[in-house]
């Protein structure tokens, strides 16, 4: 069992190392180092914060020690990444990239985890029911709408939802994380308002997610229902409900959880853009603004934070898997 956890931990470390290496190498591959070029361009434009920008250039020179040999730069870079010190934001100097990200992270984590969990649970259960022969027949008509829903990327569904539920029928706020007048603080009124604002973004992930999870689960259930142990369960005279839950769903859930872990990447990527569409104050919007202003340190910071957090989630799912499937955790005697 320990060997299994160690292996999955190794994978997580590898992912983090991979992400930081890409962040380090890619800018240096481009013909002209984009960071350096952006800084010089900002300095040459002059503008109010001219002196600040000169400090940024100096900071950048010192930090990356461009004269040092490449591998030394690389080691410094890795060390910074481990300490989650992504350097300074060019756009709103002297704020540290990490602080900006930390302010936005809770927004993303809350609404994303809630949405994904609901989508996975409801979608999986619905998919299982559709595949179950003794389930009510009308469920079969859900397949076509579910197919359409799963075909729409989250953020485009978001657009449609804003237009219908916010613009035309004005049930939900148009976007943002909370009403403009409010100051973010942890009291009930603010939290309720923030929740109201997070409903549409979450809904776009839930609706689209339900579609794809349901169809995925339906496929798994169809093959599981053909297994011998289902036939014996029925031969034992077990109630339909029990054969459905403890024999069919319980086994079809295994590959479904694996595909949840594998889909984490696309889910996170979609969520980033959902935030952009809704102007939701999560790391997605931060990334979007950083891209538009070519604020490299913030971009790399956000990318690293998302990859690391998704890595943690995948690691958690991997460790959870042997609990679901005893064959994995027990080494064959």
């Amino acid at each position: 069992m320990q060997r299994f956890i160690l292996r999955r931990l190794g994978v997580f470390v590898l992912v983090v190392w991979l992400a930081s290496t890409v962040n380090f190498i890619v800018p240096r591959l481009a013909p002209v180092n984009p960071i350096r070029e952006r800084l010089l361009q900002a300095v040459s434009q002059g503008g109010a914060a001219k002196s600040d920008l000169e400090q940024v250039v100096a900071y950048y020179e010192a930090k990356f020690g461009l004269d040092q040999p490449l591998w030394k730069q690389y080691l410094n870079f890795l060390w910074d990444m481990l300490r989650l010190d992504f350097g300074v934001s060019i756009a709103n100097f002297p704020a540290k990239a990490m602080d900006i990200i930390l302010r936005a992270l809770p927004w993303t984590l809350v609404f994303l985890t809630v949405a994904v969990l609901i989508a996975f649970a409801v979608g999986t259960f619905l998919g299982a029911l559709i595949a179950w022969p003794r389930a009510p027949r009308f469920l079969q008509f859900l397949v076509a709408p579910l197919l359409t829903l799963s075909a729409i990327p989250y953020y485009l569904l978001g657009l449609v939802l804003i237009f219908l539920l916010a613009f035309t029928w004005r049930i939900f706020p148009m976007g943002g994380g909370y009403d403009l007048g409010l100051v973010p603080k942890l009291d009930l009124a603010f939290l309720a308002n923030a929740a109201k604002h997070s409903i549409l973004p979450a809904l776009s992930i839930v609706l689209s997610g339900i579609g794809s999870w349901a169809l995925g689960m339906r496929g798994m259930m169809v093959s599981t229902l053909g297994e011998d142990y289902i036939a014996l369960a029925e031969a034992k005279g077990l109630a339909g409900r029990e054969v459905f839950m403890r024999y069919a769903v319980r086994n079809a859930l295994l590959p479904q959880t694996t595909s949840l872990a594998l889909s984490m990447g696309t889910v996170a990527a979609g969520a980033v853009i959902v935030e952009v569409v809704f102007g939701y104050p999560g790391v997605g919007t931060i990334l979007y603004q950083a891209i538009r202003s070519f604020d490299y340190f913030v971009i790399y910071g956000v990318v690293m934070m998302i990859i690391v957090s998704i890595g943690l989630v995948t690691f958690a799912l991997d460790v959870l898997y042997p609990v679901l499937d005893p064959r994995i955790s027990y080494e064959r005697k």
């Binding site: 729409i152 148009m174 990527a269």
Partner: protein, 286 residues
């Protein structure tokens, strides 16, 4: 290769999903070039018409804040997005076939490395790595460059599915019987394995195209696509940029979404149909 017997034509007739899927995709591919014949594509340029006009007889899909006629924009944009998808999908499939076969056929350490890489990269949010890459490419990104960038992450699913199939086929007795018949190495792959893999190769290609288009639109929605090309993703980016939703200019972003959704549905139906051919036990969807 022996000509495909009649058996396959009746096979396709019995699979409505495959046919509807292919029909949808065909329409989407044809709509661009055919549409452009009936409409003056020069009007897709900035300032060709008054901005923010709602759909009318003159401008069936209205105009955007730049004053571009949205109908020709759509006719030009759709084929480009599909082209990116097909190009990236093809690259992804090519790499996937090579890696899938090498991993599945050789096994051992090589197999573990390739499988490990594919699985890890799948869990990592690929779009963000693409953001890092796209951001670093200064200057305008061309449609072909977009395809190459996106294809960097389109090879994982094909590698996984093809490797799994090669592993199961490799153990099958007819491969051993082929060896006993005097066949060796590459000939076995081509004459014995590939024909059984065709449905899987096709559905992996469809999967790769779908993930490529999803990634492309994602990048473009963040503004990292080809700035001067009216691809579907860029149209949505400009609509977002100019808060078209809040200003109620629904005709700016709704049509691209419809096209994108149709594309994904078409791709999904085709891959479901192909899986059905690959193993008939999967019951039909509708």
């Amino acid at each position: 290769m022996a000509a495909r017997p009649a058996r396959d034509i009746s096979l396709i007739r019995r699979h409505p999903q495959l046919i509807t899927g292919l029909a949808i995709l065909l329409v989407l591919i044809v709509i661009g070039p055919v549409g452009s014949l009936f409409v003056d594509t020069k009007e897709a340029k900035v300032g060709a018409a008054l901005p923010d006009l709602p759909p009318s007889a003159r401008y069936p899909l209205g105009t955007d804040t730049y004053g571009r006629n949205l109908l020709p924009m759509l006719f030009l944009g759709t084929p480009q997005t599909i082209k990116i998808g097909l190009l990236a999908g093809a690259i992804g499939l090519g790499v996937g076939i090579i890696l899938g076969f090498v991993a599945g056929y050789t096994g051992g350490i090589v197999d573990n490395i390739i499988r490990g890489a594919a699985d890890i990269l799948l869990t990592v949010p690929g779009l963000l790595l693409l953001v890092v890459i796209a951001v670093s490419i200064k200057g305008t990104v061309s449609v072909n460059m977009m395809a190459i960038v996106v294809s960097i992450l389109a090879w994982m699913w094909p590698t996984r599915t093809i490797r799994a199939q090669v592993l199961t086929l490799r153990e099958r007795e007819f491969v051993r019987m082929a060896k006993l018949g005097g066949m060796k190495g590459a000939e076995i792959i081509v004459r014995e394995l590939v024909p059984n893999l065709l449905p899987y190769l096709a559905s992996s290609f469809v999967g790769a195209v779908a993930s490529a288009i999803l990634a492309t639109i994602g990048l473009e929605a963040l503004g990292l696509g080809p700035q001067n090309q009216p691809t579907l993703g860029m149209t949505i980016y400009w609509a977002l940029y100019y808060t078209a939703v809040l200003r109620g200019l629904w005709w700016w972003w709704a049509p691209p979404i419809v096209i994108i959704v149709l594309t994904f549905m078409g791709l999904f139906l085709v891959s479901a149909g192909l899986d059905q051919i690959a193993n008939p036990r999967l019951r039909r969807l509708t």
